[in-house]
Subunit: 337 residues, 2 copies
């Protein structure tokens, strides 16, 4: 029997607990277990009014025996005692500390083999910072938790995927000017290795990886920039020499269309490696942000998350849409099967 | 009665003449007139085998009287005598010279009020260059032809549009590194003015213009680049002070999704101003390049074109798809109505 997926509760003042409650009520989270706080989750169940109840478990493996309409929870330890006092929709150090504790304990669970994958509900980076956690976000925190003692951090990359398209990003949260400098031979080649390894672990035998250029028309032979000739092309060649089915660099404006997969439009590629945050995310989000799933590649376990934040503006109203969390659960199930 | 739309023949060695023949055969070009060469167009009619015949006109206004299944043509003057000898699918100075002459004469026609708009079939910039024409493309050539003697060139911008989305670009054919430098206060403000004026001329009373940022998350308050704070934000403020309904800067990865217009997803904005070629073109092309239309804004006349090139690889086979040319004709008709 497979171990359950563990869902981290996220920031208690954001929509995380509410979308988790809704995902269980819909049946889409059946078999998963929440790492969080019982009082916060009970409040979320009341806020969303879905008639579900909470079951505080001793062991993750008990989740399978949990009846429908029941949210199985592992009580995270060491949480602030007055967590429920943190006001909804606001940055609060208590919520940041609790969110961090849930992530740490979820990683322990999956590394012990008691969970099969981690799905993370949204956290707020200012709340983390207020709690003295220096990681700017999930990815960096998971990377640190996944590192072997005394060894360098494992290189990771962000993949954003929906049913039609998967993109893996060479650079993410930095200015476009810095991103251009960060597009190095090593960074592109490492991204191709991570993307290839991950796609094989998803069950693709020889993943067809398209590499988008950095410049308009992929540089038009050097006329509109030479990064394709100096950096991206050689990195693709090196990856091919390692047996990776990478091709390109292709013009950024048409490669995503070519990689789009629908019943009537079979894709030419299994995934696209994009040089910048927005080249990669614009096409995934274009048809609707609610189906986008964020996957961290390169970790020694599967981690997915919904592609949105804590939505403080609607936290506590019960109106948050669980669609992206449900898509993240579905993706985690596929990737860890 | 409105004057006809004039379609320039494009590069005689590319797919231009064939897609023009197919557009007329489908009925979609009814009422338009071709500026081109009779022998080249007769060859295209034979290649596409659509049973249409050619009518060489004296005056553009005779196009309206042309029966269906007939392609009305104005014979461009001063073309190379051996134009038919230029081999299909290859760069040829004769084809470049002819393409240039057709554009020049089409502009004269529209400036004389004998045509209502220009739709340009694809040209090949190397063929233009081989013919000694120094303009790198249509846009620059039309800009020069539109300039008043002794006055500076009119500032123009490229718009790419389909039925769901319109984007106007601040920068186009240059490296991403140079594009970042070209995102100036003046360039953004001028783009907003051109976009607003054009959208009003298309019949929108107070066009809602969304401005996409340059950096991920539109700079995240300066954390990922400061162009939004230093340049783009102030340019939006200045445009608003001039009565332009501009807003932003918005995160590039979600603004296009928000501007996408379908029956079930009404758009929040009428058009998006994008800082870079690929931010703007990735979403327009994502659902299929065949419906994208390129519109040059800022000229004293309407000019549209299909969003593809000469496709030398299939020129002469009769297989080229006229869908984008047909979309360009429809757009030109709307914009010049």
């Amino acid at each position: 029997m497979t171990a359950p997926i563990v869902i981290t509760m996220g920031d208690a003042c954001g929509i995380g607990p509410e979308i988790i409650a809704k995902a269980f009520a819909s049946g889409a989270a059946q078999g998963a277990v929440v790492m969080g706080d019982a009082a916060v989750m009970r409040r979320a169940l009341a806020l969303t009014g879905q008639g579900t109840s909470l079951a505080v478990l001793e062991r993750a493996s008990d989740a399978a025996a949990c009846p429908p309409n029941c949210v199985p929870l592992l009580q995270a330890t060491g949480l602030p005692g007055d967590l429920l006092q943190a006001p909804m929709g606001q940055v609060d150090a208590r919520a940041g500390a609790a969110a961090g504790a849930c992530i740490t304990q979820a990683v322990s669970l999956v590394r012990a083999g008691e969970a099969s994958a981690i799905v993370t509900a949204p956290i707020h980076k200012e709340a983390l910072a207020a709690a003295g956690i220096t990681h700017p976000g999930h990815t960096e925190m998971l990377q640190a938790l996944a590192a072997e003692p005394g060894r360098p951090l494992p290189p990771v990359r962000m993949m954003l995927a929906n049913d039609e398209l998967r993109t893996v990003l060479v650079t993410i949260h930095m200015s476009l000017r810095r991103a251009i400098d960060a597009v190095t031979y090593e960074a592109v080649l490492e991204t191709l290795r991570i993307a290839d390894r991950a796609a094989r672990s998803f069950g693709l035998a020889s993943p067809r990886i398209a590499v988008a250029g950095l410049n308009p028309h992929a540089g038009e032979g050097g006329l509109f920039g030479d990064e394709e000739l100096r950096i991206i092309g050689p990195a693709i060649e090196a990856a091919r020499a390692e047996g990776i089915a990478a091709s390109g660099p292709y013009a950024p404006d048409t490669v995503f269309m070519r990689a789009r997969h629908t019943a009537s439009h079979p894709s030419e590629f299994d995934l696209v490696v994009a040089m910048t945050h927005d080249h990669g995310l614009i096409p995934v989000k274009y048809l609707g942000v609610e189906q986008g799933v964020n996957v961290t590649l390169g970790l020694p376990f599967v981690r997915t998350s919904p592609d949105h934040g804590t939505a403080f503006d609607i936290a506590g109203t019960g109106r948050a849409d669980p669609a992206s969390l449900i898509a993240a659960l579905r993706m985690a199930r596929q990737l860890s099967a």
